[in-house]
């Protein structure tokens, strides 16, 4: 299985600022994803991070608010822009590829916006 790390693990930010979350996989993977988990809720997909092209966003999520980069097959970033308290959530990166079709998850980034 892929080992995935995320930085930072948690952060407390002021409204109106932006935070970039990094996701690193220990092996090359086909697909990478970003999910949001609001307090007490399930996981919702934000977007699929495509290597070498623009991310594919789910309904309700837009590039201006959640710009994503994926410069290679092992790394991706998610930026949460112009933050408001409603953005307080856990943000999780996942990766899929290799010999199995299973998605493995990073440890998550807990974001609190004041």
């Amino acid at each position: 299985s892929a080992v995935i790390s995320q930085k930072p693990s948690r952060d407390i930010c002021q409204r109106g600022t932006s935070l970039t979350i990094q996701c690193q996989v220990d092996s090359q993977v086909t697909m990478m994803f970003w999910y949001r988990q609001q307090p007490g809720q399930s996981l919702t997909l934000i977007a699929t991070a495509n290597q070498g092209s623009e991310a594919t966003y789910e309904s309700g999520f837009v590039i201006d608010k959640f710009p994503i980069s994926r410069p290679n097959l092992t790394f991706s970033t998610l930026t949460v822009s112009n933050m408001s308290p409603e953005d307080s959530s856990i943000y999780l990166c996942s990766a899929q590829g290799g010999s199995t079709d299973t998605q493995y998850f990073g440890p998550g980034t807990r974001l609190t916006v004041l």
Binding site: F33, L43, L92, D101, Q103, G108
Partner: protein
């Protein structure tokens, strides 16, 4: 669009006993994947077990097994000999096959499992 429903927000079980978590889903696809993930307080999502829809045999992983009923669109998780370390939030998830393009996971609402010593 596919949906996943977990009707049990909370479950509890005595240590060493067996517990079954329920999951139903809705899809028009004939081929797909189903997963159970656990999320302990550390918030790390950990894969518990996976099932391919084309396989009739139920998946098992040590103390964890599933009861996959394709016609009923049901995918329950059985945990045998429950241990304190099994306490977590359990999520059922659905994924379309690669031929359908989108590979996102669609999650249920989760079931919080408590283990009583």
């Amino acid at each position: 669009a596919q949906t996943v429903t977990q009707s049990q927000p909370e479950m509890s079980v005595q240590e060493a006993e067996t517990v079954t978590l329920s999951c139903t889903y809705d899809t028009s696809e004939s081929d797909y994947y189903l997963f159970w993930y656990k999320q302990p307080p550390s918030r790390q999502m950990i894969l518990v077990i996976r099932q391919e829809a084309y396989k009739q045999q139920n998946a098992t992983e040590n103390r964890f097994s599933v009861n996959f009923q394709k016609a009923a669109k049901s995918f329950s998780l059985k945990i045998s000999d429950s241990q304190l370390g099994d306490a977590a939030m359990y999520f059922c998830a659905y994924r379309s096959p690669p031929s359908q393009g989108a590979q996102k996971l669609v999650f249920g609402q989760g079931t919080r499992l408590t283990i009583n010593p």
